[in-house]
Amino acid sequence: MVTSPSDGTPPAGRAMETYDVAVVGGGPAGLAAASAALATGARVVLVDAGRQPGGQYWRHPIGDLGAVADLHHDLATFRRLVAGASAAVRLFGHQAWTVEPAERGFLVRAVADGMERAVPARVLVLAPGGYDRQVPFRGWDLPGVYTAGGAQALLKGHQVVAGRRVVVGGTGPFLLPVAAGLAVRGASVAGVFEANAPAGWLRRAGSVLPVAGKLTEGAGYAAALARHRVPYRSRRAIVAAHGAESLTAVTVARLDARWRVLPGSERIVECDTAAVGWGFTPQLELPLALGCATRVDVDGSLVVAVDDLQRTSVPGVYVAGEACGIGGAPLAVAEGEIAGRAAANAATAANAAGQPAVVVPSRLRRRRRALRRFAAAMHEVHPVRDGWQTWLGEDTLVCRCEEVTAGEVRAAVDELGATDARTAKLLSRAGMGWCQGRVCGYATACVAAGSGRPVEADLRGVAERPIAAPITLSALANPEGAPRQQ
């Protein structure tokens, strides 16, 4: 497999043709979309910030998947999709900072090597994926505390084992592959602490059975954990991290049904690394910049509303994968395939009305439905309960970039009259720093909502980022093709 960044890249400095379909995102959904669109004969460009295809799910060292093959799942699908997408013009290392409507469709504006380049396309498929949803706790800003996804990325992308003695915590099935991967690569995993009680799976067997592949995947990780004698404990959470310069221990506690700490249940577990994950947050900058309608999903995440062809409320814009509901790679692939077919059809059909009903085979629709049900069941047994807020001290940081404490966010609400998450953010500066709320947006919205749940407007208020990725002033001032000013 050839995955060099220059492969398929058009020479710089030339005006680009208008593609039929631009796919933004080279993970499972984006690769599937590009591959499916190409199969219909459409001219496709694939834009991704990474240096090679695969996204977060199939992350691997540059050019070398073999070294981490054992950490991956369903590589056959990955190889099939990469082969299928190989005829696309591939713009890797291109970070889209905005997308905008243009005369004949859309322009994806991306930064590559410090230069901005505009990619024109009739139709867009956005597959931006997601990243770890984070919940603050005492000491979570200590070096040695990672997100589950961050620890996983180090392992898959750089073959770096995050630490020697690791504690894994949070909620969701993703904790299993993270713990298993670390254990397999030699870390001593002191425990996996799942805040929920996933025995609930069994009661939802009806939703799960049609996608039995997912179950075998889980069983494989469970076996790996057993082999490495990694204890797995439910209804427990890492509620505090300790250490002077860096992490030396965590407090693990038993939780009640609302996730308040059961008094007396706290135990200190020594470790140099903690990998913590609370599900995922969809990456919505680009769909929101285009004005796509959203909804709140079962897991409390803001997601893009799509129809059964992955169409958003904005004509010509399709979204696939985690951005329309966290559901894992197999669902993302199914959605990507549907979006790719439908988008290519819309872009190339001489008949303006198109014939969408025939472009998506019913087996694909059924597969997506089953996987969506599986995802919903998964979310139902792994909710994030609001009791985590009781773990925080008033002085616990919610926003690490701007060093804003939980007390300060609460004061913005109680004293300064913020009635929504956006106002709480602007009055407290939580989410106004480098990460622009990508890390703390969800938590800020929750703390601002207090015991209530953040509503859609709250989540939008911390998710809208008209500049989807940082861009230097010189790149912004001097786009490719324009006369240089400096």
Partner: protein, 376 residues
């Protein structure tokens, strides 16, 4: 019991009005259909400027407001009041001459001005483009964090008895004969001795609910925000063209560089003006112009990352003056809106004057130039 005053708008002008009215002993209720500081207040840099105004009624208002903000910074506080000073620069000799001429006029009106020759610019702003021809320093120019300013003034007013209702929309006016006697809202009637229209860019809509015309329209502006940096830029620095852009009647896009650092370390980059209604779409063209001009002024910014951009809608009137005072066409109704891009700066004086007028005192400044019925 009816309130003495109902203030429509929980932005900085409404907040200042509520604060001064409460201090005068009046009972005050503030209503806003959105959150605190949810309109133009939350979309600006928080400028308190005297530098950009030629002598005249608006400069008098700005001078009064500048003094009041300094007092509020101590009396209320908590909103990052920063007397950083403004530095206006020009790239050519004729620009410097024009600037110096304006500064001399402003000085006669009581503005502190310091003409800075080209060779001395670096002493004030070490990272300025060395090719600039000169400038004028205005030590009285200051900055606040505008949302915090509104929120802190409202909190202080609440502690003195004022009531604030956010998420409540004014749907009409209560009348008794020709007199305005309160407002109808989405959650019920609020009778009041006086009603203040502090609805900013939406002030024209509120006026029309009362059957009077006040021509306030939106003028869109974008601001770029950089990554947090060590303090590179000490003053609010802008180019001489900014003054003429502010006064321009052209609907088309104007951009002139306005660059300043904040306490949080981010650098704010403006300013664009265009009349495109309430279009919230990000304009790449505008952002490019802002970026290019900022780098021209401060070459050191070229490699700095922009992490955020936002837009707001300035409330402008055809003569670029705010609307402040009682409306003889609807007795009981007072206007405090239409401050264009100077709303934060002019808010304190506006609030004080409105409170004085409602309370029957002699206003600290003649408000005739700002009278609401001046438009024909």
């Amino acid at each position: 019991m009816p309130a003495d005053v109902v203030v429509i708008g929980a932005g900085v002008v409404g907040a200042a009005t509520a604060w001064y009215a409460t201090r005068a002993g009046l009972s005050v209720t503030v209503v806003d259909r959105g959150p605190v500081a949810g309109g133009t207040t939350g979309a600006g840099e928080g400028n308190i400027l005297v530098s950009d105004k030629p002598p005249g009624a608006e400069l008098d208002l700005a001078m009064l407001s500048s003094r009041l903000w300094r007092e509020l910074g101590t009396e209320v506080g908590g909103f990052e009041y920063d007397a950083k000073g403004g530095l206006v620069v020009a790239s050519a000799a004729d620009g410097v001459a024009a600037l110096s001429g304006l500064a001399a006029e402003q000085a006669k009106a009581g503005v502190d001005t310091v003409v800075v020759p080209a060779g001395d610019l670096a002493e004030h702003e070490p990272h300025l483009n060395p090719e600039l021809a000169g400038g004028v320093l205005y030590p009285q120019d200051a900055q606040v964090q505008p949302m915090l300013a509104a929120a802190r003034l409202l909190r202080s007013a609440r502690r003195s008895g004022a009531t604030v209702h956010t998420g409540v929309e004014v749907t009409g006016f209560l009348r008794s004969g020709g007199q305005v006697t309160g407002v109808r809202t989405s959650t019920g009637d609020l009778p009041a001795g006086a009603v203040v229209n502090a609805a900013g860019t939406w002030g024209g809509e509120i006026a029309s609910l009362a059957g009077v015309e006040v021509p306030v329209l939106p003028r869109r502006g974008f601001i770029l925000v950089t990554e947090p940096l060590p303090r590179l830029i000490r003053h609010k620095v802008y180019a001489a063209e900014y003054v003429s852009d502010v006064a321009s009647d052209d609907a088309a896009l104007q951009t002139s560089p306005v660059v300043e650092g904040t306490r949080a370390g981010t650098v704010l980059i403006g300013a664009s003006r265009e009349r495109v209604g309430y279009d919230r779409t990000l304009s790449v063209r505008v952002l490019r112009a802002l970026a290019a001009q900022a780098v021209e002024l401060f070459p050191v910014l070229a490699g700095v990352q922009v992490i955020r951009a936002y837009r707001g809608f300035r409330p402008y009137c055809p003569d670029h003056l705010p609307v402040i005072g009682p409306d003889p066409r609807a007795p009981g109704l007072f206007h405090a809106c239409g401050h264009e891009g100077a709303g934060i700066g002019l808010a304190a004086a506006t609030g004080l004057l409105i409170a004085e007028l409602i309370d029957g005192q002699q206003p600290s400044l003649d408000v005739a130039p700002f009278r609401p019925e001046r438009f024909r």
